[in-house]
């Protein structure tokens, strides 16, 4: 009796195993198809194109002849070591790294600070502050770029006037036009615009911390500073890590603010050139410079590699080691 029941159950299990739920495929298909066609295929095709060279002037060609020729890793060699390309590449990479470091070291702490203030229990007008600080993040970058170009204009800008009021007019510099300060200025504008995003994330994470833990800390005699650094901060550390990696991906893909404020000159003298603007100039060409799609694909693939590397470091070195607390 017993045996027959168990064999019956086994049979049922076997039957369940045998029958593959084919309808799942139907449900998976649209997403997989779209993802493959629009993400995976273009990605690999970009990497493929980066191994080719192209006859830019189209000399001695008609429409039927093959415009591209395979050259292996030559484009990558040129990009890293041939001075005409490598100067721009390393310059863009250096600027981009600087841009990222400024974001991480300024935007993240400020976001955390504001979130900490917002989550304190006896602050009035919380929602107003939150909305106001988040507002710039919802504005179009083109508008932000245009506004700041006007605000900082050497002819009709306002820093001169404001500095003049306190008698410090000589401190005014055309920050957007000077080689050193230009990138810092643009980074600060970007930080100002997007500081609301880390703030929101940290704020949500801080709100998630149960009151019991904080009450217990209070009873144990922990002051606000030690509560923050010893209890709240470790609890939201995964969110901080997430924010850093989001900033990393966003910054190495950044393009729009530079494009809006500096056009593709990325001036002065390419001191605000990022990987994105460098890619655009290479791929599409700029003014008199003809576009070079295969070299552009090389720049894009390299940028992809840089971002992938950062994300992998984050996943293996940071996320796997971090302790998650259940509450």
């Amino acid at each position: 009796m017993r045996r027959s029941v168990s064999s019956h159950i086994n049979k049922i299990i076997f039957k369940m195993k045998k029958k593959f739920p084919y309808h799942i495929l139907v449900f998976l298909f649209p997403a997989c198809f779209i993802y493959t066609v629009f993400m995976i295929f273009p990605l690999f095709d970009t990497i493929r194109i980066s191994l080719y060279t192209q006859n830019l002037m189209g000399e001695n060609m008609d429409n039927s002849s093959n415009i591209r020729a395979f050259i292996g890793f030559r484009n990558y060699y040129d990009l890293f070591f041939n001075e005409n390309w490598s100067w721009h590449f390393w310059n863009a990479l250096k600027n981009n790294t600087y841009f990222f470091l400024l974001h991480v070291s300024i935007q993240t702490p400020i976001g955390l600070l504001i979130a900490a203030f917002l989550s304190s229990r006896n602050l009035r007008f919380k929602h107003t502050y939150r909305t106001l600080i988040f507002l710039p993040a919802m504005m179009s970058i083109v508008i932000v770029g245009y506004l700041f170009n006007l605000i900082l204009s050497n002819l009709w800008g306002i820093p001169q006037t404001i500095l003049g009021v306190v008698g410090l007019e000589h401190l005014y510099q055309p920050w957007l036009g000077l080689k050193g300060p230009a990138l810092i200025t643009i980074s600060l504008i970007s930080i100002w615009q997007f500081v609301g995003i880390p703030m929101m994330l940290f704020y949500a994470a801080l709100l998630n911390i149960p009151d019991e833990i904080l009450d217990a800390a209070k009873i144990d005699g922990s002051g606000p500073m030690s509560t923050f650094w010893l209890i709240k901060f470790p609890l939201i550390l995964p969110t901080v890590g997430l924010m850093v990696i989001l900033t990393y991906v966003g910054n190495y893909n950044a393009f729009d603010l530079i494009f809006a404020m500096k056009s593709l000159y990325a001036g002065p003298e390419y001191s605000t050139d990022l990987m994105g603007t460098f890619f655009y100039r290479t791929f599409f060409g700029f003014q008199m410079q003809l576009g070079n799609p295969t070299m552009g694909a090389t720049v894009a693939s390299t940028t992809f590699g840089i971002i992938l590397l950062g994300v992998l470091v984050y996943l293996f070195a940071f996320q796997q080691r971090i302790t998650r607390y259940q509450y």
């Binding site: 000159y265 001036g267 003298e269 008199m288």
Partner: protein, 415 residues
């Protein structure tokens, strides 16, 4: 923007009906500023002679024109007539077989060779666009300010700087309305403006192509040194001043002199409420000959796949006539027809620009023909070094060396 969008929509609508009608010639262009002139004057004038040919002027946003027109040509849905960017961008289209050869088109004899160079193959065996218009360089000045300060028009370098010095010491006006934030502006309106007087026009331009002259030669260094002095007379913080900033600075009447191109005449005469005129590029001290840049800027070619090739050719032939030249020169002041016909121009500032060509030899920009096609592109390198020189971040000698090195990198005559 809204206007632009509606114009684009209108044209794409017109384009769709246009395709359906046989014998409709569609012109692809980036000159949406001239759309009114084309639709209200030029095309009606053509139709007065050829009433059976319908012509549609269709525009694309300027900075996307090159990319969009080559995509359309590749896809086979471009218009019949293609407005041609000078030199390599159009040569590329011809090499791909997308533009038809116009050898033997009646009326091409009405153009000087330098005008045809912009749209011919390097060996001049094929011409693929009808030259349409050129732009010139010079300095515009605010007549009221010149009168107020008792200034006279400078002819030589030292006169130029003494005028600037007087305006500066008066203190009420910015002497020079230009900035370096848009590097093309200072390079095109500075370097290419006064440059021909330093490199002796065509002689220097051909010298760079043949490799007989180098950017490290003394006259190029002198030119760059002259530009380096401009910085002292530009507005405070000129390093961040963009091209539209400079335009506004001048049209608001706050600046005395504006290094410029003739293409500004049209918008300036609408915006400025003071009298302005222009003077030609200054010469190095002690030089008697003068040279002006008369840069071939717009041409018009025939789509090789056009279904209306016959009608299009009739239109192209009409473009070579004196009738078109006169309408175009007056409707779009600042763009000068490249024909050899003598024509009447009414705009006083445009007239002033044209008058220089009587006394001075003309040339085109030295960085575009043949030497402009390499990587790195000479034009872009010049923009970078010229703005560096004016900003004072590099010396004239370093700038010359950098431009020469970029050319030597890919161009055999300079190696």
């Amino acid at each position: 923007m809204k206007k632009l969008l509606s114009i684009t929509l209108l044209f794409s609508f017109l384009f769709s009906i246009g395709n359906a009608l046989a014998g409709t010639v569609i012109i692809e262009s980036w000159r949406n500023d001239d759309a009114d002139a084309w639709n209200d004057k030029i095309i009606p004038a053509f139709n007065a002679k050829h009433p059976n040919i319908k012509v549609v002027f269709q525009t694309t946003i300027p900075n996307q024109y090159a990319a969009s027109v080559s995509a359309k040509l590749e896809g086979g849905n471009a218009g019949d007539l293609i407005t041609c960017i000078p030199f390599d961008q159009s040569l590329k289209l011809f090499n791909r077989g997308w533009l038809a050869s116009l050898n033997g088109l009646n009326g091409l004899e009405n153009y000087p060779q330098v005008a045809k160079d912009a749209w011919s193959t390097d060996d001049q065996s094929d011409i693929f666009c009808v030259p349409m218009a050129s732009v010139s360089h010079g300095f515009m000045y605010n007549k009221d300010i010149f009168k107020e300060l008792g200034l006279s028009i400078p002819k030589t370098e030292s006169e130029f700087f003494s005028v600037l010095e007087k305006i500066k010491s008066d203190g009420n006006y910015t002497p020079l309305a230009i900035g370096t934030a848009d590097t093309w502006a200072i390079s095109t309106m500075g370097f290419q403006n006064i440059g021909p007087n330093y490199w002796q026009g065509e002689k220097g331009r051909k010298g760079i192509i043949s490799g007989d002259e180098k950017f490290t030669d003394s006259h190029y260094i002198e030119l760059l040194k002259s530009l380096a002095k401009w910085g002292d007379y530009m507005a405070t913080g000129y390093q961040a001043q963009t091209y539209p900033d400079s335009q506004n600075l001048f049209t608001l009447g706050d600046a005395a002199i504006y290094p410029t191109g003739s293409w500004e005449i049209f918008t300036f005469s609408q915006n400025a409420d003071f009298e302005f005129s222009a003077f030609p590029p200054y010469k190095p001290d002690g030089q008697s000959e003068c040279f002006v840049d008369d840069h071939t800027d717009i041409g018009i070619g025939l789509n090789a796949a056009s279904k209306n090739a016959e009608e299009s050719k009739i239109f192209l032939e009409w473009l070579t006539s004196a009738e078109f030249a006169e309408i175009f020169a007056n409707e779009v002041p600042g763009f000068f027809p490249l024909h050899t016909h003598s024509i009447n121009v009414n705009d006083p500032v445009a007239k002033e620009f044209i008058s220089w060509k009587d006394d001075c030899a003309t040339t085109i920009r030295n960085s575009v023909h043949i030497v402009g096609r390499g990587e790195p592109n000479l034009e872009s390198v010049l923009w970078e070094v010229v703005s560096g020189v004016v900003n004072g971040t590099i010396t004239a000698e370093e700038a010359g060396a950098k431009a020469e090195a970029s050319l030597a990198n890919w161009y055999a005559p300079h190696q």
